[in-house]
Amino acid sequence: MNFKLMPTIAASMFALGTVGHADPTIDQYVTFSGFGTLGVVHSDYSQADFIGNVVQLHGAGYSRSWTPTPDSDLGGQANFTLTDALSSVVQVLSRDDADGNFKPKVEWANLKYEFTPDFAVRIGRIVLPTYQHSDIQNVAYALPWVRVPIEINYTDKAEYSDGIDLLYRVKTGAVTQNLQVQLGSTTEDLPGTVFTSIHANVGVFSDTLQYGYTSVHLVYQNYDHTGFPPVRLRLVGAGLTYDPGAWFVTGDSNYTQDTYFGDFFAWYVSGGVRLGRFTPYTIYSTTRAPSAGTSGLRSLGNERTVSAGVRWDFAKNLDTKLQLQQVTIDTLDDPASFANLQPGVRVGDKANVLSLALDFVF
């Protein structure tokens, strides 16, 4: 765990931000911003580590009873405005990942050209819109919960791709569609000894429809990796959010077919009520593997989680969240929320997890 890096990055980002804002001529071309979370997680289940992201190697429960690693992160972003139509974004993120440390990584780095305000092309590194909240999963301030329910991300083989995408916004009557086609390749570290550093071709088509307070996210993604194990993954997903302001309901789902690992079906539903500065919420989330692939592994990832929490917007650009959840383990083959499974794990075991987080944007 390399925590020493985080203050250094924070200091350098604040320094950059200060320089940028001190000079109005630079401000026209470059803007700096950032986000982060200071979190701590406790799990009462000592037979496995509860993790906050599928690639993490360690978490709370087995390794340590309390740990800051599942949710803590820090990101810094620079936006460059080159001409009216040409711009660029670079975002660096420090978060506990498949290497087991907080070494900063480039999440976004692309050049964008706008043909019209509603039609643009981007070239470079772009985060994939695989799930309703996948492009924002590290910016917890933008989420109602401590984290995106991990089950929906279980088949997440890639967070971003290096390539090209087209963004097109079209309004038909009262419905606005945000269409995105993305093609590229990805090389990412995955946990464990076998799957480390996997290279694959990725293609995504997504459509986010907005109608008043309703938003619908539809996606198709393919992911092809030749090598061992050969992965040929097809994902279809549908998500829905209704948010009139005073309350919200949201849900997401996806079905994944994978020749090697089998099929997966994951979904969650969540709702919350905004009472002044407090937003209590609940979530039910689950993932199931209805069929096995050529690997012979069965019921990969199976689990279900009931969560309840509250977000408190206590100050400008800051929130704090408290989340309690109970995860029921339905398989011995890599239940989605856990790493470091110990021999004592039994199907039907329950883990009670407490998460506290402080989220900020600047």
Binding site: D135, I136, A142, T176, G245, A246, K316, N317, V361
Partner: protein, 133 residues
């Protein structure tokens, strides 16, 4: 006696509150096309690039009032929505100007600009597109 004094006090407080919460109006350039309340909400929540929205200082009384009436959302919700747009490289929140006078000046100078000001600040340099009450 005490009850009537209390009622009088409550009424006085409400009167003061009403005076303080001045009516907010959405303004556009005199040459601009009509704009609907749905379009305003889309603009200020980052769902449309059809116009150029202009903000007042984040957290100011008029900012809070405008977002509540035009979008049904509070400061933290608006910040969360724009954080998502910003940190996915899709855009920037509206430019902030310090007061109604500055907003009027910007709107008067650009037929694509949209702003919001207190009703008492309305003059001939701009036109009221939409009252929000």
């Amino acid at each position: 006696m005490k009850t009537s004094a209390l009622i009088a006090l409550i009424l006085a407080v409400f009167t003061v509150a009403n005076v303080r919460a001045e009516e907010v109006v959405v303004i556009v350039n005199p040459a601009a096309a009509p704009i609907s309340k749905e379009q305003i909400a889309d603009l200020y929540l980052g769902r449309s690039n059809a116009w150029i929205p202009i903000d007042q200082t984040v957290g100011s009384a008029i900012y809070v009032e405008f977002y509540k009436k035009a979008t049904g959302r509070d400061i933290a919700q608006v910040k969360a929505i724009w954080s998502r747009i910003l940190f996915t490289g899709r855009g920037f929140p509206p430019k902030q100007l310090p007061d109604s006078a500055a907003v009027k000046k910007a709107v008067a100078a650009n037929p694509k600009a949209v702003g919001y000001i207190g009703k008492s600040a309305v003059d001939a340099s701009i036109k009221v597109a939409l009252p929000l009450d």
